[in-house]
């Protein structure tokens, strides 16, 4: 599986945006037909997969811009005298229930529900309005006509449906739609709220780890997600490297977890930075709901829901950075929040790294690969070459890149995997790369 992806990945499309438009989140919808990205400028760009074409071999699966809209605007918190960034922290699609698509987008404080719908017809021939919509002078109306729908060019309309505001004191880091399709949760640094999708003026606090005295604060919530099948279960991760599985049937306020997943610290690897690098930056349920994938600074871990004592598998993402932690602490890179993703069959995991590298790990064969998302090295439809980073002092092969020459400003924090196919979306600063398994596309064409 990994081999297919690594050696035969096709660079499918590259979309370049302006320099300031750093992509801050990437998310496929449930069919994989649409792909949404959010950026630091508060915009959401939706890409749609083009229908298959018989003339062009590779056109199948190509994603093109479908719609762009401004989701959030910068605001100002007058109480704290602080700016509220418009940056989109997370996007989540709602399961599709009619012709329209719905998505939730959030910045640090406010969550919005958007409706994305298509329009290809327009009503014409109103009696009281002219073509521009102006009210006609009644005296000029001498005859009545029946308005008709005329076909027009396809228009994609995006409209705000709900605004869920004023429920978060801290920064919202996660939103997750429940499998009941009616509720969703939003997590900030210290609290998790449960919302009904139709009700904006009320939410229920389901987790609150804020200590009575903020001086006692030593731990924050870093990510949270609902179980994909059981609407009563959700998991949240913390800055101390723990995962807590909560069952909403037990109590209204899930301050007490049902399960605590935590790996005992290896005393030999203990350092000043142990806690920081163990902070979980992302947690994702597998599609099956059996496993949890977490990412911390140096590793990706797969946990079995039935084993709390230690992770099932631990994958080193960039262990060569272990000796550089102090530098990474000083330049703040150590606080970078890398996300992680499962493939459709839960057999491969993917996560980002520095230097525009991203990593894939095959859970069955235990093979791993490092790939690079960059305009220089990957032309459209070119096959990606595996990259290798050699640790300082190690033997260096041709094309290897040394740890010291890694570019820490080019980081791949946000990745997404198509829910069923081997198509991945990689956000590298302000570029979005969509790679596709070549075998896969040949099979389909």
């Amino acid at each position: 599986m990994i081999e297919n992806i690594s050696d035969k990945v096709v660079s499918n499309s590259q979309v370049e945006t302006e320099i300031s438009d750093i992509i801050s989140t990437v998310e496929f919808n449930h069919t994989g037909e649409l792909l949404a990205t959010g950026d630091k400028g508060g915009r959401v760009v939706i890409f749609q997969r083009e229908p298959e074409s018989k003339t062009e071999l590779f056109s199948q699966g190509e994603y093109n811009v479908y719609s762009t809209f401004q989701s959030h605007e910068p605001e100002f918190d007058y109480l704290k005298s602080l700016e509220i960034e418009e940056k989109i922290n997370k996007i989540r699609w709602l399961p599709q229930q009619n012709a329209a698509h719905f998505l939730l987008s959030t910045n640090d404080k406010t969550i919005k529900l958007w409706k994305v719908s298509e329009r290809d017809k327009r009503p014409e021939g109103y009696n009281l309005k002219d073509e521009e919509g102006r009210i006609k002078d009644i005296s000029t109306v001498t005859s009545l006509q029946v308005p008709v729908l005329k076909p027009i060019d396809l228009m994609v309309e995006v409209s705000p449906r709900r605004v869920f505001a004023n429920a978060h004191t801290y920064h919202v880091n996660s939103i997750s739609v429940n499998s009941d399709h009616e509720t969703y949760m939003s997590a900030d640094d210290l609290r998790i709220n449960l919302w009904h999708l139709d009700i904006t003026n009320r939410s229920f606090n389901i987790v609150d780890i804020k200590p009575a005295n903020m001086e006692d604060l030593t731990e924050v919530i870093t990510a949270a997600e609902f179980h994909p099948h059981h609407c009563n279960l959700f998991v949240y991760s913390s800055s101390k490297g723990t995962l807590r599985l909560c069952d909403m049937r037990e109590a209204a306020l899930c301050d007490r977890h049902s399960k605590l997943f935590e790996e005992p610290e290896d005393p030999s690897a203990r350092s000043f930075f142990s806690e920081i690098i163990s902070s979980v930056s992302d947690v994702k349920f597998s599609h099956s709901g059996r496993y949890l994938l977490t990412r911390d600074y140096l590793t990706a871990k797969v946990w079995d829901l039935n084993m709390e004592s230690k992770p099932l598998e631990t994958y080193q993402v960039h262990d060569y950075l272990r000796s550089k932690l102090c530098s990474l602490y000083e330049n703040d890179c150590i606080f970078d929040k890398f996300e992680c993703a499962w493939n459709g069959s839960d057999s491969v995991i993917m996560t980002g790294a520095y230097n525009n590298f991203f990593r894939m790990f095959d859970r069955n064969t235990k093979r791993d690969v490092t790939l690079e998302a960059s305009r220089e090295s990957s032309k459209p439809r070119a096959v990606l070459k595996p990259r290798r980073v050699c640790a300082a002092g190690g033997k260096r092969r041709k094309d290897d890149i040394s740890v010291d020459s890694l570019d820490f400003t080019k980081k791949i924090l946000h990745t997404a995997w198509h829910p069923t196919e081997n198509i991945i979306a990689i956000a590298a600063t302000n570029n979005l790369y969509i790679f596709q398994d070549k075998l896969n596309s040949e099979m389909h064409s």
Partner: protein, 401 residues
């Protein structure tokens, strides 16, 4: 006194040193090693370095938007952890800490947006400043804690360091403490502090000197941070230097030697470095000789500021008071107010102004290279490499009176 030849020799020593530490760091494998792989002192130095970086991180940046809580909590935990360690090592402290204290201070200064006017503050001014800080007092007062590093012979300052408000009163009342009045402004929240200092500062000459000294190191640090390379020791040196000068300045008899230090420091960067090392190491003898007269005030003055400064920010950030309440004062040995004393003492000699600047910049150059190596523990061995004559000299300066 250093002759030119001696300076050059130090220069070479420095290069050799850097080379050695480079090798050591390449072999050592970095901070992650923990206690075993490293000598106790280099571990302490690392810890101090991380402590400094953490402090700087917590207080230097004031972005327009709300900073990440996660980041703040993690940095705070780091500081707490280091502090717990320090507490546990309480008995060993005199042995372990002296090499490290000075590095702390440039950060201390660096995160002060506007350095208050120092030695020049009149008692009246202090009185003006004190109301706001007195208001803050209830939040600031740290739980009383024993300060092992404060010589038992001097109880009043001990009180002073526990209650910032009384510190203010003491300062304004006691004219002999005049130089120590500056630490009061930091008590008030930073914006206020900058206002007051801007409003107050009457004699521009000395105050600008101080602000120069206070600001340069921090800019240097920022620059290096952006360059992605470790330049932790850069921060060490300017302070150590000033520290050296405040040591000497505190005892007027040793003013001459102090100037000497300055001169040599300002002339060659490497000399600066080694001088700084010298200061680091020389603190040990100092601790060993608590009876020596000049030493006592040195320990006292700093003991105010560490509390006032961090707690001032703490109230601002609503962070952990306790974190800083118990803090080991020896880490804050260098104090702006004492520096100010130096400035006022040697005012007119451009040396004072020059030397820290030169050091910061030059050190940056000289130390960037080693820090691009995986392990930034470059200065680990340095305290041991002091020229004996230099040590003698410093002792002379110390005990000179």
């Amino acid at each position: 006194m250093f002759s030119k030849g001696a300076k050059r020799k130090l220069d070479e020593d420095e290069e050799v040193l850097e080379g050695k530490t480079l090798e050591a760091s390449a072999a050592g494998g970095g901070f992650g090693l923990g206690h075993e792989g490293l000598s106790k002192v280099s571990y302490t130095l690392q810890r101090q370095t991380i402590f400094n970086i953490s402090l700087m991180k917590l207080y230097s940046q004031r972005p327009l938007n709300e900073p990440s809580l996660e980041r703040r909590v993690l940095i705070n935990n780091m500081l707490r952890r280091i502090q717990d360690e320090l507490k546990q090592e309480g008995s060993l402290r005199p042995l372990l800490l002296p090499p490290s204290p000075p590095p702390d201070d440039p950060m201390d200064e660096g995160f002060r947006e506007a350095p208050p006017t120092f030695g020049v503050l009149s008692a009246a001014v202090t009185a003006q400043v004190s109301p706001p800080s007195a208001l803050l007092m209830p939040m600031i007062i740290p739980p009383p804690s024993p300060h092992p590093s404060v010589p038992p012979a001097c109880p009043p300052p001990l009180d002073v360091c526990l209650t910032p408000a009384s510190l203010l009163e003491d300062d304004s009342a006691d004219s002999s403490f005049c130089t120590s009045s500056p630490p009061t402004p930091p008590l008030s929240p930073p914006p206020l502090q900058s206002q007051t200092s801007a409003a107050i500062s009457p004699p521009p000459a000395s105050s600008s000197d101080v602000s120069d000294m206070a600001l340069r190191p921090s800019t240097a640090i920022n620059r290096t941070a952006a360059a992605n390379s470790m330049t932790v020791t850069t921060s060490l040196t300017p302070t150590t230097l000033t520290h050296a000068s405040h040591l000497t300045a505190s005892s007027p008899a040793s003013l001459g030697p102090a100037k000497d230090c300055r001169t040599s420091g300002s002339k060659t960067e490497a000399a600066c470095v080694s001088l700084a090392e010298g200061c680091c190491a020389e603190l040990r003898p100092m601790d060993a000789l608590p009876a020596v007269a000049p030493v006592a005030p040195l320990d006292l003055y700093p003991s105010h500021s560490p509390h006032s400064t961090p707690s001032g920010f703490l109230t601002d950030l609503a962070l952990d008071d306790v974190l800083f309440a118990d803090i080991d004062t020896s880490m804050y040995d260098f104090d702006p107010c004492v520096t100010a004393g130096v400035v006022s003492v040697s005012a007119g000699t451009s040396l004072t102004k020059m030397s820290p600047v030169v050091t910061a910049d030059d050190l940056l150059k000289s130390l960037t290279a080693p820090y691009s190596s995986p392990t930034p523990q470059v200065s680990a061995n340095q305290p041991f490499k002091i020229d004996l004559t230099e040590l003698d000299h410093i002792m002379e300066v110390l005990v000179g009176s």
